[in-house]
């Protein structure tokens, strides 16, 4: 774990917040500075433009055909706006002066005025006088009645620079302060937001295997923390359910194991207690051996169940023809139906190919069919059907038995569940077959369900994903 990841979430949130805030503030400051700078320059340029235009209106042609300064009030007084510029002059192309803003207006900047140079082209540019003062200078060619003249106007940039300086100071001092404040605020906010989190942690810590019924209090189920709490509570519910199921299962298992052991024990004890003839002893020993067989079968079934429950997918995957498999099982078990006078029919079309462990799938059909035959009365009907849709293989086993009440439709797949509890000892089996069956179907990516119209038998339906045959694959590709 890096040093960064090792920090508390609160610190990490605050730091991330500070970084984000600084980036945004910097970008904003740069934007403001550039914008203000541009605005000031634009304003200066605009003012120069106006001044020059006003000055040009005062030019007249004299009798000699030369451009001269004409003051409407008979003086050299300029228009008032001309006071806005630092300095303004108009020359003839030959370098002679037509007009210059009087010295009095120029606030002692005369010494700084650069001399007129004809080579200067028109335009606006910055100049620095030998005195070190920055000016913005506008130079323009004018033509009045065929006579050319060049006007120049300049405004000191001092004021604009001062304004910019103030702006830079404000940004330079304010920005770190803002970042500092946002960091502090972010740290506080992250702390506040995380308080319920620590509370949840503490409460979740208190819930353990002994106290699985406790739940976290949900404050607001619509915000993220509420969702987290609800998710946690769901998890606890599931855990509690599986713990309870596990407890019940081990209780059931020990009960089931105890029954044959008790029988072996008492039959043995009673058998020893009295003198029997040989046939009598054979009877006693036979009884004990039968129960030993029952025990073996139970242990094998429990092992089989725990093995398939440990699997996420079948370990041995091959293409399996469900129809052929059903055929095989029907032939094998048909004899049992025959013995009970039942009709066992198999309805199937062509091959229905699924992928999986053929041994386990065989087991699925056997378990369901065995149950169907067991619970169907003599003379009844058991019908097997293998079919498929576009993507799914379907195996249906319908029987004529007493049916299963809707409230038990889910329970039949639970471990150690037997439909009629009171008869549990007369109907053989441990109630593990369907639990194994369901798990096998699940690890094959399928599902199993039972439907039952009461009194008219039940239908077990296994749906498995259809294997893609090479032919289909080609068809899809083409």
């Amino acid at each position: 774990m890096s040093a960064w990841a090792a920090r508390k979430l609160r610190t990490r949130l605050a730091v991330a917040y500070v970084i984000a805030t600084s980036l945004v503030l910097c970008a904003f400051a740069i934007f403001v500075a550039v914008f203000v700078h541009e605005r000031l320059h634009a304003e200066i340029a605009h003012r120069l433009d106006q001044e020059v235009e006003i000055a040009e209106r005062s030019l007249r042609m004299d009798d000699a055909g030369r451009l001269v300064w004409y003051a409407p009030h008979g003086t050299h007084e300029p228009y008032l706006p001309l006071r806005n510029v630092s300095w303004l002059d108009i020359h003839r192309p030959d370098g002679t002066l037509i007009y210059r803003v009087p010295e009095s207006n120029m606030a002692g900047t005369a010494a700084a005025i650069p001399s007129f140079e004809k080579e200067h082209t028109s335009g606006i540019f910055s100049i620095t006088t030998p005195g070190g003062v920055q000016y913005r200078l506008l130079q323009r060619d004018i033509e009045i009645a065929g006579q050319r003249a060049i006007s120049r106007a300049a405004i000191s940039e001092d004021q604009a620079e001062r304004q910019l300086d103030i702006l830079y100071w404000v940004i330079g001092l304010g920005l770190p302060l803002a970042v500092l404040l946002s960091g502090f605020g972010g740290y506080q906010m992250a702390g506040r937001a995380l308080v319920p989190m620590s509370r949840i942690t503490a409460q979740a810590r208190a819930i353990n295997a002994e106290r699985l019924d406790a739940r976290l209090p949900v404050v607001n189920r619509h915000d993220e923390l509420g969702e987290l709490t609800v998710t946690f509570n769901d998890l606890f519910s599931r855990l509690q359910r599986s713990f309870e199921e596990l407890k019940r299962c081990s209780a059931d298992a020990s009960h089931e194991l105890r029954t044959p052991l008790t029988i072996i024990r008492s039959v043995g004890e009673v058998g020893l207690g009295r003198h029997h003839d040989e046939a009598g002893y054979r009877e006693v020993i036979g009884d004990m051996l039968e129960e030993a067989d029952r025990l073996t079968l139970l242990i094998d079934s429990l092992l089989a169940l725990s093995r398939v429950e440990g699997l996420q997918c079948p370990s041995d995957i091959k293409p399996v023809d469900l129809g052929a498999l059903a055929d095989d099982v029907a032939i094998k078990f048909g004899v049992l139906a025959e013995e009970k006078g039942q009709t066992l029919t198999l309805e199937r079309t062509g091959p229905v190919s699924v992928t999986g462990d053929s041994g386990l799938l065989h087991q699925v059909i056997v378990n369901i069919l065995d149950n169907a035959i067991k619970y169907t009365p003599p003379g009844g009907r058991v019908h097997l059907r293998v079919d498929h849709t576009d993507s799914e293989a379907i195996l249906e086993i319908a029987d004529d038995g007493p049916g299963i009440a809707p409230e038990n439709h889910k329970k039949v797949f639970e471990r150690f569940y037997r439909v009629d509890v009171s008869r549990s000892h007369t109907v053989e089996g441990f109630g593990l077959g369907l639990a194994i069956t369901r798990r096998v179907v699940e690890i094959h990516g399928g599902r199993i369900e039972v439907s039952s119209a009461s009194q008219t038998g039940s239908v077990f339906r296994v749906v498995l994903p259809l294997a893609v045959s090479p032919k289909q694959r080609d068809a899809n590709r083409g």
Partner: protein, 227 residues
Amino acid sequence: MRILIVEDEPKLAQALKQGLENEHYEVKVAATGEEGFFLVHAETFDLIILDLMLPGRDGLEALSALRHLGFSTPVLIVSARDTLEDRVRGLDAGADDYLIKPFAFAEVLARVRALIRRGRADEILRFKAADLELDRVTHKATRGGETLDLTAREFELLEYLLLHLDRVVSREMLARDIWREVRRVTPLDNVIDVHMARLRKKVDGAAGHKLIHTLRGVGFMLSEVVP
């Protein structure tokens, strides 16, 4: 025929010894891997029945060591470890057969016979027990000269019973050898019972003398005398 049993559970060892002695084998018991290893060096045996979980030296280890030293005595492993990998490991170490606990004694006997018989060509083509005859070539069975009308499965069953004449055949052996069912959880017992009942009706139904017997909790036996 001498058999060595290497098994640390005394009751099981005793039961196996008794059972095998009843079948006229000469049996020695070793309770640990070391003792077994020593006995194999000191004496000659025709077969070793070996438990895997032993105190001291592990059964598999002892077996590998023996095979390494060049002993080729057939070995039948009996173990409670029942996964495919366990079986493969046992057979890889040099075992000739692998039997999972709990087992039916009839099964042990059948495997012992098969292992001792191994290598000898004694393919029997005609079976005879009292007035019951079965011909493997013509695929015909008769009782008292009357041809029995048997299905393929019933013929196979009768053949299996005759092959194990006078010996017990367990349901598990039948499930594995006749129905070729590998998994022990498949509820085949009822199926086997039905077929057996039908076969019995055909073989013993008309005749007064019963040949097929059921041993409760054990299995079936074809024998001229009532067991």
